[in-house]
Homo-oligomer: 339 residues x 2
DNA sequence: TGAATTTACTGAACCGGATAAGTGACGCGA
DNA sequence: TCGCGTCACTTATCCGGTTCAGTAAATTCA
């Protein structure tokens, strides 16, 4: 089956290629009657403009890119990215933008991919996730002038617009809630320590606890995997002065932590309260269901996509702080037994 | 920053554009000395061929597509697809193929996306997952002559090559294992009933149980979500003659089922044994860890990607049955208490 | 040694759109 | 009635690769 081109439409309509192009793109230069005739023919023969030809003649590639830099075993179970992708798609699909995905091993490889995509003119812009301190991807993107939106700051991104959520507010709410329940020894199992938003959370957690008079607010670094989350939990619970509540930086570690606590004979929430950061169906699935800091990740992704499309269109894009995650209390939190 | 083109290389090397193209693509027509000089220059200035230009001049788009037809809330937590995608990427990245993703709502939309991708010449081929009976996507792909690999058969796919795993073998192993433990009332919570591989599994489950003399082998249809999986479990456990073991068609439903059982005061594995189909870190995370039918989903995806690339290259591709999933016994299975 | 073949290139056409520049017809005001 | 501006197009060029046809020089072979 042959792909229809504008030349085919032009022949059938008895006009030139140029007229067809103007008509289909809503440009002035054709009469309304002709435009409608051309559009009807395009519809009838199922015309879709060849994206390569369009990209080649200076217009956009109508595609954006996303690189994922996490090992496969984390990606498969981490609900965050799929939620984000679903959000991207809501906006992208509506405007017929394609999303190009690449799973990479290191941030270094990520910059290589950006360079290649840029050289190949394969994408009009990219989403940058997991911002780090002195992130090597930022100068590359600035050098290439490749439109991008940075998710997971705030940080120093040069000209690149960024989007983040109010982690300090969220953690304030969570700690406040646990204190109100009577908890005084609250720990946190953090995400990858070199990610900027992990650092933001750690700083906020320390400050909030200090301001509320909790001296022993410890954060144990981890890597978002269930194994590490479980190990960190075990280390925390072995202590004589073990915490009565733990906040986890993602749902997977929270579930693993719950499992470790039960395995050690501790009851949740009787002996230990658990709060998961980022809610997902996973949190409601386990027993007891986990109290979580809920935010609408798909909406977050959709917002990022709108920003990226605006940046690609050359519109000015400002940094945005998305709303604060709010606490969804479930069965995993209660007053500590011995309080 | 200007993108380097072959014209830039040609100028610096003092040859024509054609010679550069031959040199970089390993075609005959240039001397070895010239080829090396050209390759060196390309390396030095960081040349990447413009994918649009390449696609336009008849060569391939060097991209393949994947449509995901599941609601966002399932996608985010279902580890299968991310595992599959990681597997695709292993093969695709090695050959600089891009993966284009689109999340859609219905199989009808999926065919629209295929048509658009084909018309836009955006992808060279697609992965088809979740094969259904009389799947409307198959005739469209055959009509468009768009190379594709079908994952999740076996079924009637016309000329399209397919890849599936030996579900009958896996379920035989699982049922045999549970029987050996002493279980006689085994139930199954199935996946979406209109998916072909769900039907294969249901048929195999029924047959295996019948051949082993288990009369009451019931399959309850579900939709892969935790909520539905939990509800199905509750329905099964309410019965006076409740099953002593349940096999779940995915890990999410298995975890939900575990939670429901515990909530109802049943001990796992004492009162109820649980087997999850498809292992993921999720299964090891919960307490007790779930016995699972393990297969290497990333390898499965990599295999599918190799098949698709071969099909795109015009090589003959045969249908393949991947290896059987094998049982990984963990803490969620034991002899029934009253046996 | 001369013809035939091979090698190593060059030049130009082509893919399918976007778009700047050019053209003829028409309407309108002076 | 002439000239000007506007409309509705057409024509031609460009994007950056691939590829075919052509060509001059080098090599092979009788």
């Amino acid at each position: 089956m042959k792909r229809p081109t504008i030349a085919d439409i032009a022949r059938r309509a008895g006009v030139s290629k140029g007229a067809v192009s103007y008509a289909l793109n809503g440009q002035p230069g054709v009469s309304e009657a002709t435009r409608q005739r051309i559009v009807a023919i395009a519809q009838e023969i199922g015309f879709n403009p060849n994206s390569a030809a369009r990209a080649l003649s200076g217009a956009s590639a109508r595609a954006v890119g996303l690189t994922l830099c996490r090992p496969a075993r984390i990606l498969s179970i981490e609900p965050f990215f799929m939620g984000l992708i679903s959000g991207f798609e809501q906006e992208l699909a509506a405007r017929s933008y394609a999303l190009t995905l690449q799973v990479v091993a290191t941030p270094q490889t990520e910059t290589d991919v950006y360079r290649r995509w840029w050289g190949e003119r394969r994408v009009d812009g990219v989403f940058v996730t997991d911002l780090r301190e002195n992130d090597i991807r930022i100068p590359v993107l600035n050098e290439l002038q490749l439109p991008a939106v940075v998710i997971g700051g705030p940080g120093d991104t040069g000209q690149l617009p960024q989007l983040w959520s109010d982690d300090a507010g969220a953690i304030t709410e969570a700690v406040g809630y646990l204190m109100a329940l009577g908890h005084r020894r609250i720990a946190r199992v953090g995400g990858l320590p070199d990610l900027l938003h992990t650092q933001t959370r750690t700083r906020a957690f320390t400050e909030v606890c200090a301001s509320l008079g909790l001296s022993e607010a410890v954060t144990v670094p981890s890597d978002y995997t269930g194994e590490e989350g479980g190990r960190a939990t075990r280390r925390l619970l072995i202590n004589a002065e073990r915490p009565t509540a733990i906040i986890y930086d993602n749902d997977v570690m929270a579930v693993a932590g719950l499992s470790v606590a039960q395995e050690m004979g501790l009851s949740v929430p009787g002996d230990l309260s658990i709060v998961a950061w980022d809610d997902s169906p996973l949190c409601s699935l386990v027993h007891p269901p986990l109290t979580a800091l809920t935010r609408d990740i798909a909406a977050y992704g959709a917002h990022a996509a709108r920003q990226l499309l605006a940046a690609i269109a050359g519109e000015p894009v400002k940094d945005v702080e998305e709303g604060t995650a709010h606490l969804t209390p479930r069965g995993s939190t209660a007053p500590p037994r011995d309080s």
